[in-house]
């Protein structure tokens, strides 16, 4: 394996106090935080930041959150899904407000990343808040010049509980404008006349909406552990080369 660090050890990632510039609800359970970060060094689509919360008594909690905004964006956006019995996400979704400071450090991660120059075809598979880093990739793709995009067809398969739980729904519905084909799979409730999938992601679905293995797509899978585990295994069964499949598991939330 080549040493990607040949140019010398990078400097320490410092904790930065960002300022919440805007918040907006994506769904009943997910909220986007738009952060102003002084001296943000820039990031790649798919990377994440660590968030640190320190209470007055010194107690601290840290969690990772994917960056939702593309590298092209001037502000840093995170989208957090509230787990009612969680410790950090209810704070970020309910307590934190515009003007507050929030300690972050990053960008972190150099593996679950994609750049339009790397090419495609691209197949993105998300479950729940696993859409966040994949949305950064979609937004980066949408911001790319037409000539670059033409050679990189994108397909996204996104599994959510109900239509109301689909994060970035409006933006995803416009996906077709940038030649990205978006397929939704709802696992619990679907509205009357729903034309999309109504079951968990299975092999047949992956074969229908994904690129066939002989097109050598790059595949990114992100979401709760059981979904990622099952999708990655199915993709290998279908014949995709394991080294073309990159996964990110959102920890114990599965």
């Amino acid at each position: 394996m080549t040493d990607l660090r040949a140019v010398g050890a990078p400097p320490r990632l410092e904790w930065l106090v960002s300022t919440v510039a805007k918040v907006h609800n994506e769904t009943r359970r997910a909220r986007t935080l738009v952060l102003d970060v002084p001296l943000w060094p820039g990031h790649r689509a798919g990377q994440h930041v660590d968030v640190r919360l320190v209470a007055e008594d010194g107690y601290q909690a840290q969690r990772s959150y994917s960056i939702a905004s593309p590298p092209e964006s001037p502000s840093l956006e995170l989208t957090v899904e509230r787990l009612d019995d969680g410790e950090v996400s209810p704070y970020l979704c309910d307590v934190l407000r515009v003007g507050d400071g929030l300690e972050i450090r990053g960008p972190i991660g150099g593996y679950f990343v994609w750049d339009v120059a790397q090419g495609g075809p691209l197949f993105l598979v998300a479950g729940g808040s696993g859409i966040v880093p994949l949305m950064a990739m979609m937004r980066h793709y949408a911001a790319a010049p037409n000539e670059l995009r033409a050679d990189v067809p994108v397909r996204l398969l996104y599994s959510a509980r109900t239509l109301d739980d689909v994060i970035y729904r409006d933006e995803l519905e416009m996906g077709s404008r940038v030649d990205a084909r978006v397929s939704l799979a709802l696992t619990r409730d679907a509205p009357a006349g729903w034309g999309g999938y109504r079951r968990r992601i299975d092999r047949a679905m992956l074969e229908e909406v994904g690129w066939p293995p002989n097109e050598s797509p790059r595949v990114f899978v992100c979401g709760p552990t059981p979904l990622v585990e099952s999708v990655a295994n199915l993709l290998v069964e279908i014949g995709h080369v394991p080294s073309r499949i990159r996964t990110e598991r959102f920890g114990p939330t599965g």
Binding site: D3, A9, S64, R249, G251
Partner: protein, 208 residues
């Protein structure tokens, strides 16, 4: 900057703190067993599985699954700490001490060195000073919670180095390469710390 942490307005601990002194800084206790890896779970049939220790001069020893399992077993009960912030207390394992395997390799003429690179199915690697896998600190584990180690947790066998962040405990491990000089492994090349001591919060390159 890092010396005087910023207080988050209105943030309070929601949970009873873990046993004092047991949780490294920045970690929280979980009762699940989260799965974290960079790609799909590899599956090598046991009949094709082997474990190799390579010396610096390319002289190596190789054991089949049955040969490896014939070494004396230990049953460590340890706390584990993942760089993604979860810690899990009192995990119980069955495996073979790396000391046992290294001693057998050295006795068979494999040449010693101060660093090791663990390598795995799927191409994963991680580097460690030899001192971090010897002296009763590391195992090749094939059992978890009185059952065979499940594939998503690294089965049939993984390295277990509980005193370092868990990315050092390479899943699907297939061997150790002894090295004269330290060299970064997979996550270490991608910005993670070379040693990964959770008590010193050595998460990323440049951390103390």
């Amino acid at each position: 900057m890092a010396d005087t942490p910023f207080i988050a307005r209105g943030f309070h601990s929601r949970r009873a703190p873990a046993t004092p002194g047991r949780l490294p800084p920045g970690q929280y206790e979980t009762r699940d067993f989260p799965v974290l890896s960079a790609g799909p779970t590899p599956r090598t049939p046991l009949a094709k599985w082997d474990f190799t220790i390579k010396g610096v001069d390319d002289r190596s020893v190789r054991w089949s699954w049955d040969e490896l399992r014939a070494f004396p077993h230990e049953t460590p009960n340890v706390d584990i700490h993942c760089v993604t912030k979860w810690s899990k207390f009192d995990t119980s394992w069955e495996g073979i001490s790396v000391d046992t395997l290294l001693n057998a390799a050295l006795a068979a003429g494999v040449q010693d060195a101060p660093y090791v690179m663990a390598f795995s199915d799927g191409g994963y690697t991680t580097n460690l000073p030899l001192a971090d896998v010897t002296g009763g600190k590391a195992w090749i584990a094939f059992g978890y919670d009185s059952a065979p180690l499940p594939p998503e947790h690294g089965g049939p066998a993984r390295l277990l180095v509980p005193h370092l962040y868990f990315w050092k405990s390479a899943k699907w491990v297939r061997g150790l390469q002894l090295l004269r000089e330290d060299r970064p492994g997979f996550w270490e090349q991608l910005g993670y710390h070379d040693r990964g001591d959770p008590w010193r919060e050595q998460r990323y390159q440049g951390d103390p």
